[in-house]
């Protein structure tokens, strides 16, 4: 028969054992390799809405109204290596088909019409990334290497990242540098004048700080500077000439708050971006991670994005104009919202994920007034299923 004292001791021991190992260190970053190997897989379907025929100038002469459909397979292995290392490898395999805007022409009424390619573009993209991390008493350091290839594009990238915990692990300092070397060899087409091979490189540096605010919340803020040099134009556009360099600064702030009474975690993110193409953008993201029971979590999410135009952006292509110009919708002024819903069923060593997202963009969603909305602004749906398994 148990005594009162032994029952108390037993309860305390059980409670202590229930505390996750990671909780004893710190959420901001665990300074030890994962104890188990984790493998993951995701299958996603990305589908852009078709264009309206009235927005396409050449819909009667081969210009497609159908845009991209992409199937994406993602594979991941995260494994401990020895006592102090981990290896995190990801491989993506994407197949895409559809059509792309080649330019714009004025509709004669202050607006613009799209000139579309035929619906014959097909491509395959593969992307391999390996991150090796060394763990120290109060920090970690990672070396990153990556390679991606498409029919007409190839990119190598390397990076170094590190974290240092200070202030009794309540504060984490982080930073890193990255370098990417990209080559484009456009598919040639009879009658089209395209470059044969062009290069660009991008150098990145970032620094940040994360702070535990209290037992329920953490905040992280970081600055990222990127500089690209080389061929930054789009060779498939009828007219597209961009500056041969671009310098940008992105300021990211992320906040996580655990609501004990509701057993939910709130994620709030904000990014301010500005560059020397005179573009400014704001991105706000919210996620609500609601635990329904010990094995099920539901995550509604919302993202808002707004960008101003690049200074050389033209709503419609201008033949014979000297200097830089582009009518790419990605350089136009617009705003966008994304609504998402995910469900995660999980146990101690497995996880099943189902997720759906809807992205809508438009001139009227921008923070400022947009005089001429680009007719090529995107709407898409992204559906994902996948699993993680640890052993």
């Amino acid at each position: 028969m148990k005594t009162e004292k032994s029952r108390t001791l037993s309860a305390l021991t059980s409670a202590a054992l229930a505390i996750p190992v990671a909780a004893v260190s710190n959420h901001v970053a665990a300074d030890a390799p994962p104890t188990m190997t984790e493998v993951g897989y995701r299958y996603s379907q990305y589908q852009e809405d078709d264009l309206s025929e009235s927005d396409v100038f050449n819909s009667d002469s081969g210009g497609s109204t159908q845009r991209y459909d992409i199937n994406i397979h993602q594979f991941r292995v995260l494994a401990p290596a020895g006592d102090n290392y981990s290896v995190d490898a990801t491989f993506d395999y994407e197949t895409m088909s559809g059509a792309s805007p080649m330019g714009t022409v004025s509709d004669g009424d202050g607006g613009a019409l799209l000139v579309m390619s035929g619906a014959s573009i097909e491509d395959t993209r593969m992307d391999l990334n390996v991150k090796t991390t060394r763990y120290y008493e109060s920090g970690n350091a990672s070396v990153i290497g990556g390679y991606s290839t498409e029919d007409d594009y190839e990119a190598f990238n390397v990076g170094l990242e590190g974290e240092k915990h200070i202030n009794d692990k309540l504060t984490t300092l982080m930073g890193g540098v990255g370098y990417s070397d990209d080559t484009i060899e456009p598919t040639q087409k009879l009658g089209a004048i395209r470059v044969t091979e062009e290069d660009k490189y991008t150098a990145t540096i970032f620094a940040g700080i994360a702070q535990v605010i209290n037992a329920e919340s953490v905040l992280q803020t970081s600055i990222n500077y990127a500089y690209s040099d080389g061929y930054l134009s789009d060779p498939y556009k009828l007219i597209d000439q961009r500056p041969d360099s671009r310098a940008s600064i992105a300021w990211n702030t992320r906040y996580r708050y655990y609501l004990g009474s509701l057993d939910a975690a709130v994620h709030a993110d904000y990014r301010l971006y500005t560059d020397d193409w005179d573009m400014v953008s704001h991105t706000i993201g919210f996620e609500w991670h609601q635990n329904i029971d010990p094995n099920l979590r539901v995550i509604p999410s919302f993202r808002y994005y707004s960008q101003s135009q690049a200074d050389f952006y033209k709503p419609s292509d201008m033949q014979g104009l000297e200097g830089d110009q582009s009518s790419d919708y990605r350089l136009s002024p617009f705003g966008a919202v994304t609504f998402g819903l995910s469900a995660v069923a999980h146990s101690y060593n497995w996880k099943v994920i189902v997720s759906a997202e809807r992205y809508i963009s438009g001139g009227d969603l921008a923070l400022g007034t947009v005089e001429t909305e680009h007719p090529g602004l995107l709407q898409y749906t992204l559906l994902t299923v996948g699993f993680d398994y640890s052993f």
């Binding site: 996750p20 909780a23 994406i72 992105a250 992320r254 996580r256 655990y258 004990g260 400014v280």
Partner: protein, 77 residues
Amino acid sequence: MKHNSFSYKLTLFPILLIAVGAVGCAEIQPWERGELARTEMKWDPDPMKSALRDHIYFSKEGSSGGASSGGGGCGCN
């Protein structure tokens, strides 16, 4: 379209957050950090999902950049 003045005002937002955070920080003992160790409290609870999202936004919008050393580009149109 320009909203630069708005941007500069919003630049103050992260500074304010950090200032409030630093002032508000109390001594949190290691055993009090259990809630912070939850999976749903990670910066990226699902790194594969974040990676795909970032890749799409990088390909389809005019701006990008996060708390990482970045990756390679793509010929995405």
